[in-house]
């Protein structure tokens, strides 16, 4: 059972446009929702994260919107730039996993921003 479903699988956006990546989850126990950015040949790196008691979090051009009732959250990249071209992963953490706050990852979205 996939606990975090991410869409779309790939996304092409023109420079200056808005990129939107969506994730949906089932487990209401999840309490922390990070997004990771991964460039080719590199490991993923934390981009931005949100807790479920907040509906929106913004850091520069990156915004997470969180809808607790719908169990959905999304990443918005405003004024998308070619340098934003990367793979983005959403994740969700279950605090009730024993011994470690394991995160469940979405399958990833490959974003291409065309100049």
């Amino acid at each position: 059972q996939q606990q975090v479903k991410q869409s779309p699988q790939s996304l092409i956006v023109q420079k200056g446009g808005i990129s939107i990546i969506n994730c949906a989850y089932e487990n209401t126990a999840f309490d922390y929702f990070p997004w990771y950015q991964q460039f080719p040949g590199k490991g993923p790196a934390l981009l931005i994260a949100i807790r479920p008691d907040v509906s929106e979090k913004k850091e520069g051009r990156f915004t997470i919107s969180f809808n607790k009732s719908a169990k959905q959250f999304s990443l918005h990249i405003m004024d998308s730039q070619p340098g934003d071209s990367a793979t983005y992963f959403c994740a969700a953490r279950n605090p009730h996993n024993t011994n470690a706050g394991k995160s469940t990852f979405g399958d990833g979205t490959t974003l291409t921003v065309k100049p």
């Binding site: 699988q9 990070p34 040949g41 490991g43 807790r51 011994n99 470690a100 706050g101 394991k102």
Partner: protein, 115 residues
């Protein structure tokens, strides 16, 4: 890459041979994880560790074993490599599992090809 070194970075091996991948951290973080990344599957947890000699299975642990004899080192062993284990392997570390802290820091990855 947050004081995480994975070795080797690239390896080609033959089916049936044992393979050990090493993750070394200089951050003194308690938690360490091994993931594999495959197209269309995102990041899948293989094994994780919550302390020296304390490890547990992830969602895709079959065919893999791990060991952690020191805080800084987490080893992933493929006892008898198969072609289905061709993948990119990432090590990650995290410091705390409190409600607001589950940032995972990833290494640069090891690309393993099993022929």
């Amino acid at each position: 890459d947050a004081g995480i070194t994975q070795s080797p970075r690239h390896k080609v091996t033959e089916t049936g041979t044992p393979v050990t991948l090493r993750c070394h951290q200089t951050e003194n973080h308690r938690y360490m994880y091994w993931y594999r990344q495959d197209p269309g599957h995102g990041l899948r947890l293989i094994h994780y560790s919550y302390g020296v000699k304390d490890t547990d299975k992830g969602e895709v642990s079959d065919g893999y074993s791990v060991s952690r004899s020191k805080t800084e080192d987490f080893l992933l062993t493929l006892e008898s490599a198969t072609s289905s284990q061709t993948s990119v392997y990432f090590c990650a570390i995290s410091e705390r599992t409190g409600r607001s802290k589950n940032i995972q820091y990833f290494g640069a990855g090891t690309r393993l090809s099993v022929l």
